[in-house]
Symmetry: C2
Subunit: 484 residues, 2 copies
């Protein structure tokens, strides 16, 4: 049963498992104590710190272990901002950072700081020049991930670090997705990562703060981990995490495996558009993680798609709003301006069998087709009216534009998709566009957040003109002009 | 090799080990995901939460797992205070709380809140009536531990909870030391604990917030654990922690073991003063944890004592300043007003062999005697001049009181113990007291924080009169009047 969601959590590396078992018996005592059990724990902890620091590319005394990658980011952002409070209170981060960075930024803004976002291109990549241009004198910290967790795009962290260093501004790199594959090069100031992404156990993050970086830990003080991570040290897990990272670094296996997975991902990127109609593969095709590919499928309900893939034995994740509890599409896809409906992220764990990838490519087209059929969409053609099955029937009303709105869009029709969730508003738009003449408009009324993103994305994919958005009594009115 | 520091960390319970191993394979995936590995993780997490909640005595939806007991306390204190900000910003806690509570209180004070401490008696116990008397209208939260981590004294949490409930003020109970032995009774509002104290693995704390308690989580938000604990869930550790707690609760073994350890501790409490001269057993003899006893030895250097006990095979801890990196004696012993020098905490793990306790009682008297001999103290007698060994020789100068100070203490002598650490100032005092007539004074000049606590404690044990403390050019001058 292939598990294709390594970007969420990787299965435990065998070396980590072995190290964990051994250190459960050796590393349970308090390493701050002077008796033999404590000294033994301290030795294990010190050795783990050395191994992790070597893999990260920093000094052992620059690295602390945290209970998670999320906490490493929260602690790193807050401590670096507080350390430079006198210089300024502006945090600059890319629009596609992990939610842990965004949440740390929110907390900073709530406490009176300012936050600025760096835009990305359609591949999800920040331009290094944009970083330089955005470095104001009051910028206290820049946060830039090494590679994106949803689409795999690598960021120009080395160039960004150099530009930041020239400006005297620290750069925090969230390396959660890339550290398994190699150290982050360059003159970054802070780095955060998460062990369960590289085959370590859950419960371990790491935060490196290079010497010379101003850092003032926030929150209640605690003497553990140089005052940078509160709470009793989790030595068995830390030892296991470091052992897995060392195992990934020490042999030639990682590079070989990266090349192999890169080829498997390339295969998916190339063949998917041939196999599945109306699919958009997103993310940078070259500057990317070796093991991760993301695509979106028009006219597909993400939750049903994931459910059907799960039934077929494939565990993948999605940035579609219809699979998230917040009902908003992924902020990463939004920042990239790409389609979010029917979104699937495939991230291959170390050791993924080629046959499993082949089987995925065999299974996916049929799964997408069946989801579309249930939604009243046939193949790659323009959607047709939904079949009779009542629960799936599109209930959006198609009506002539009411007289009151005539001044704005005289020749248009209005699709009322209020109360309908992704991908229904886009399906209704696709069904209706043929009913207006070329040059005419369709206005979609929708209160689904995904529509704001997916209607313009659909226009791009279908070569129709996205006119814009108007406020409406409920939700918003999205206007599309028929071009073809 | 007997390990007698269960209050720091208990060895992993066999049931926890087994559960951890099983869930490493079953519980590594993201429980927020909808695919089978995620659902499996969610089931494990839900079952662990139910088991832990049952053991704590709350509803599963009132309990979240945190990465440590320390973080449970930090989160609980901050969230409860923020939830009641409109009522007031006063935090009331006992003077003998765990450092995690004190550090949370410091952070609260630094953010503009107010903090008040409840005094304890010589046994380390808070009077429930004092809680009621201290409940001002602006009190937002009361924090009271279920039992003290250094001396084992149980606090009247049930009465305190009732009094707090009547006043409409939430009570947070730090149950880290007692939860292994049973649930905390009464109408507490919040409860924090730490799994590695009950035989669970490190990396797991728990925080219960009963329904109806106002609670506003602080710090960057995160969707995990009802928004109360940031970071990827550590399911294998959580499952192991809950399994150990359930194992402790489900059988009759815990009560039997508690009774057995209680008797062993009673044996230490009774026989120690017969076996070791000038020892003070501290803490409440009745209202106490079953497995913990603490005592202090006059004229003993805590670090050397621990080192010698470690050499003899016994792992214990100490609240003496001479074994702590901060050079200050334990705030618990200070609040109790008892001797801190030569302090030893013995906390017996589940299953401690009676023979090991007997052997400890055999070994300890010789160890204490040898430490005292090296410091120039002989048996239970008044200390004599140090032997010739230069590094250990007491260098404090004994001189007639200089003329300038004559008006204050006309007939006294001054002992200059500046720069000398615990237990030297007390040893010098003991050596000198016989040189002044009854009614005369000895003034000890000391810059060791422990002197402030140990000189009055010595006076109490030796039936001498502690006159008080004066400011001095360096450190302080402690005045003692010879009574016997």
């Amino acid at each position: 049963m292939p598990y294709f969601d390594a970007a969420s959590a990787a299965p435990l590396h065998p070396v980590a498992r072995e190290a964990l078992l051994a250190s459960l018996d050796e590393g349970w005592a308090d390493p701050a104590r002077l008796y033999r059990e404590g000294r033994r724990g301290r030795l294990l902890l010190d050795a783990a710190r050395e191994a992790a620091a070597e893999a990260v590319g920093c000094r052992p005394d620059e690295l602390v272990f945290t209970p998670s990658g999320t906490q490493a980011v929260h602690t790193g952002v807050a401590g670096a901002l507080a350390g430079r409070r006198r210089t300024g209170r502006r945090l600059l981060h890319s629009a596609v950072e992990h939610s842990s960075v965004l949440h740390a930024a929110e907390a900073h803004a709530a406490a009176g700081g300012t936050v600025a976002e760096l835009a990305v291109d359609r591949t999800g990549r920040v331009a290094a020049g944009d970083v330089a241009a955005a470095l104001t004198p009051d910028t206290a910290l820049v946060a830039l991930q090494s590679a994106n967790h949803e689409v795999g795009t690598e960021q120009p962290v080395e160039e960004a670090a150099e530009l930041c260093q020239e400006a005297g501004v620290p750069l925090l790199v969230d390396a959660a997705q890339s550290l398994a594959w190699g150290p982050v090069p360059g003159a970054w100031s802070l780095l955060a990562a998460s062990a369960h992404k590289w085959g370590g156990p859950p419960g371990v993050g790491l935060l490196a703060v290079r010497k010379g970086t101003r850092f003032a830990p926030q929150g209640p003080r605690d003497e553990r981990e140089s005052g940078r991570s509160a709470g009793f040290e989790n030595i068995p897990a830390v030892v296991a995490a470091a052992a897995a990272l060392r195992a990934l670094r020490s042999g030639p296996g990682t590079d070989t495996e990266a090349a192999r997975l890169r080829e498997l991902v390339e295969r998916i990127r190339t063949r998917l558009p041939e196999l599945v109609p109306d699919v958009e593969v997103v993310g940078d095709p070259v500057h990317r993680l070796p093991h991760l590919v993301t695509f979106s499928c028009l006219y597909v309900d993400g939750e049903t798609l994931l459910h059907e893939l799960d039934r077929a034995g494939f565990s993948v994740s999605s940035g579609s709003s219809c699979t998230s509890s917040t009902l908003t599409p992924s902020h990463v896809l939004r920042a990239m301006g790409v389609l979010s409906e029917g979104n699937v992220r495939v991230s291959l764990p170390y050791g993924t069998a080629e046959a499993d990838v082949e089987r995925f490519l065999e299974v996916l087209p049929g799964v997408v087709r069946s989801v579309r059929e249930r939604l009243g969409v046939v193949g790659a053609e323009a959607p047709v009216a939904a079949p009779g099955s009542a629960p799936r029937e599109a209930s959006a009303a198609v009506a002539e534009e009411p007289a009151g709105a005539a001044a704005e869009e005289p020749e248009g029709v209005v699709v009322d998709a209020l109360g309908r969730r992704c991908p229904i508003p886009v399906i209704e738009l696709a069904k209706t566009i043929g009913q207006v003449p070329v040059g005419g408009t369709v206005t979609v009324l929708s209160d689904d957040e995904a529509a704001r993103q997916d209607i313009p994305a659909w226009c791009g994919m279908r070569d129709q003109e996205y006119v814009g958005e108007r406020a409406a009594e409920r939700g918003a009115a999205y206007v599309v002009r028929r071009r073809v």
